[in-house]
């Protein structure tokens, strides 16, 4: 009897964990479809126009530095567009489902709240991935056009592009976290602040070191470690000079980002599980 019960429990557990992946994939796929339906990828048109304009006209304005400027402009636009998508789509991921009351239908099925959040997160990450890949290909093509043939920069920018994507993964997680307990407007504002502070991390650390009071020092040092350090992932300027981030540094930065995202998603799940939808 005890053995039968244990077997049933194991079978149910296996089904549950095996099904969890499927459920997350299904939610992610739907989130991606919804983003496409919401014309999120239309930003690519603007990006293509920007790059085409830069490739054709920047030569006259840049004193022969068009390749560097195309990389700077292309990768910066990629980051900026990605940040806007991560913020403005990210903050609506959960809120829209609650507002439209579709969340009730979802949770009536055997879908955990954590699975729902992780699925939503991966769905938006997939949207951003498609976005970044197409934009990266656009920058490489523009470089090939400007160089009038094969350009080593067209390949060497890809590690920096990968790190831009990782930065966007963090921001997507942050916007999802805020959207679990706050309104979309406030979530967008808070996520944007995190983006700004994330690029001021070095100043935060410097501020902590220059503080006289131990309490203030502790506070700023805590903020430095708690808030994401996005400068670890920024190699745009170096990429424009054909430099590739050192492998060890890049791997550590990606590892940092993955751990950070896991922490954010866990915190978001914790908060979301406590929300009452009755």
């Amino acid at each position: 009897m005890a053995e039968t019960l244990a077997n049933e429990k194991t079978a149910a557990e296996t089904q549950r964990t095996g099904g969890s992946g499927r459920r997350i994939t299904s939610i992610a796929r739907n989130t991606f479809r919804e983003a496409v339906r919401d014309r999120v990828l239309y930003n690519l048109v603007l990006f293509v126009l920007l790059l085409t304009g830069a490739a054709v006209f920047i030569g006259e304005l840049s004193g022969g530095q068009e390749r560097k400027i195309i990389v700077d402009l292309g990768l910066s636009a990629m980051l900026l567009f990605g940040v806007f998508i991560a913020i403005f789509v990210g903050v609506g991921l959960v809120y829209k489902e609650i507002e439209r009351r579709t969340v009730y239908a979802i949770f009536a099925k055997p879908v955990g709240r954590g699975e729902f959040l992780v699925g939503k997160y991966f769905g938006l990450c997939l949207t951003l991935f498609v976005n970044v890949i197409i934009m990266g290909a656009g920058v490489s093509l523009a470089l090939t056009y400007v160089a009038g043939g094969r350009d080593p920069l067209a390949l060497s920018i890809w590690p920096a592009i990968a790190l831009i994507y990782v930065e966007l993964m963090i921001l997507t997680g942050v916007s999802l976290l805020f959207s679990c307990f706050s309104s979309p407007a406030l979530s967008a504002l808070l996520t944007f602040f995190v983006f700004i502070i994330g690029h001021f991390s070095a100043d935060l650390k410097g501020l902590a070191n220059s503080m006289g009071s131990a309490g203030a020092r502790w506070l700023f040092r805590s903020l430095y470690y708690i808030l994401p350090n996005l400068t670890n992932l920024n190699f745009i300027t170096a990429a424009a000079h054909g430099q590739i981030p050192p492998a060890m540094q890049a791997v550590t930065a990606v590892l940092y980002a993955l751990v950070y995202v896991s922490v954010i998603l866990t915190a978001a799940t914790l908060i979301f599980r406590r929300r009452n939808f009755k």
């Binding site: 304005l61 840049s62 980051l79 745009i236």
Partner: protein, 303 residues
């Protein structure tokens, strides 16, 4: 949503077109009524220095550096276009380019590896403000200690200031950098031995010409090399004039008097016998036939 346009759609479209036309007309009117820009305000210092701009650029510092770089090019280009006089790239002192140094400074602070602004600073700034040119190039060396080209630029700036000792030191230091060409050390020695000589100038310009990738800079250096050729030619012509005066007791009345001697060494204008400068313009006989000078219409730089 239907595909066929209703009459109302056409009305709305017409309103958009008419509205845009009015907006364009009004904009042109406002532009024409605007008082001319006060040059004093236009020359106001930058609101943000490089360090502040870097701090607030949120990871987009490369793009902001490009923007400052392009702005410095437009700034110089605009001044050149508005100027009535013929302006040379390496002597723009007449243009009052007081914003150029802060613009190049900001660009190189935002992206210290960006080499083009350093070259621009080394070529243009010495005539405007040599101290700024030296400061920006030294900043570049501090940020890129292995970039021997920056030492070449700094050596060139000191050479222009006739500080041959300092120039020699900089060339020697640059020559020690792994990957630096051998001539960097040679230039260091030459600066110390004969910094003010024509040969030193020729070598200086030739190496800068070989290393530069900027068309405008190359053109400027090509003209400088023509000038060096012209200096040498004029020295030789002066010797011919001196010999003629020594033999006849008077300076030549026209080029024809020395044409036979000159023809063996220079290209000469057949009708007048005047020797041609490296740009193909006839030289002028001056000081009553005792001296030679460039023709003002020549494209060879006078100084």
């Amino acid at each position: 949503m239907t595909n066929s346009a209703s009459p109302n759609d056409w009305v709305l479209l017409a309103i958009i077109v008419i509205g845009l036309t009015i907006v364009i007309g009004l904009s042109q009117r406002i532009d024409s009524q605007r008082p001319p820009v006060n040059p004093a305000l236009e020359e106001e210092q930058l609101y943000l220095n490089g360090k502040t701009a870097k701090r607030i650029s949120l990871g987009f510092e490369g793009m902001v550096a490009d923007w400052y770089w392009m702005r410095s090019l437009q700034y110089v280009g605009g001044k050149v276009l508005n100027s009535q006089a013929a302006i040379r790239l390496d002597d723009m002192s007449a243009l009052n380019l007081k914003l150029l140094a802060p613009l190049l400074d900001a660009s190189t602070t935002l992206d210290p590896v960006f080499m083009e602004p350093y070259q621009y600073a080394a070529i243009i700034l010495p005539a405007v403000n040599p101290d700024d040119a030296i400061r920006i190039t030294k900043k570049g060396i501090a940020a890129n200690p292995n970039a021997w080209r920056l030492y070449q630029h700094l050596g060139y700036i000191y050479w222009q200031q006739h500080d041959y000792e300092e120039s020699a030191e900089v060339y020697a230091a640059g020559g020690k950098i792994p990957g630096a060409p051998r001539w960097m050390k040679e230039m260091g020695a030459r600066m110390l031995a004969e910094g003010g000589s024509i040969q030193a100038a020729r070598q200086m310009y030739q190496h800068l010409y070989d290393e530069s990738e900027d068309d405008q800079v190359k053109q400027m250096l090509q003209r400088r090399l023509l000038q060096v050729d012209s200096f040498e030619q004029r020295d030789l012509i002066r010797q011919v004039l001196k010999d003629y005066a020594a033999n006849t007791g008077r300076c030549p009345a026209s080029w024809k008097d020395v044409m036979a001697v000159l023809q063996s060494r220079f290209k000469v204008e057949v009708s007048t016998g005047a020797p041609l400068d490296p740009a193909g313009t006839p030289y002028l006989l001056t000081a009553g036939g005792c001296d030679v000078d460039l023709n003002p219409s020549s494209s060879v730089p006078y100084r």
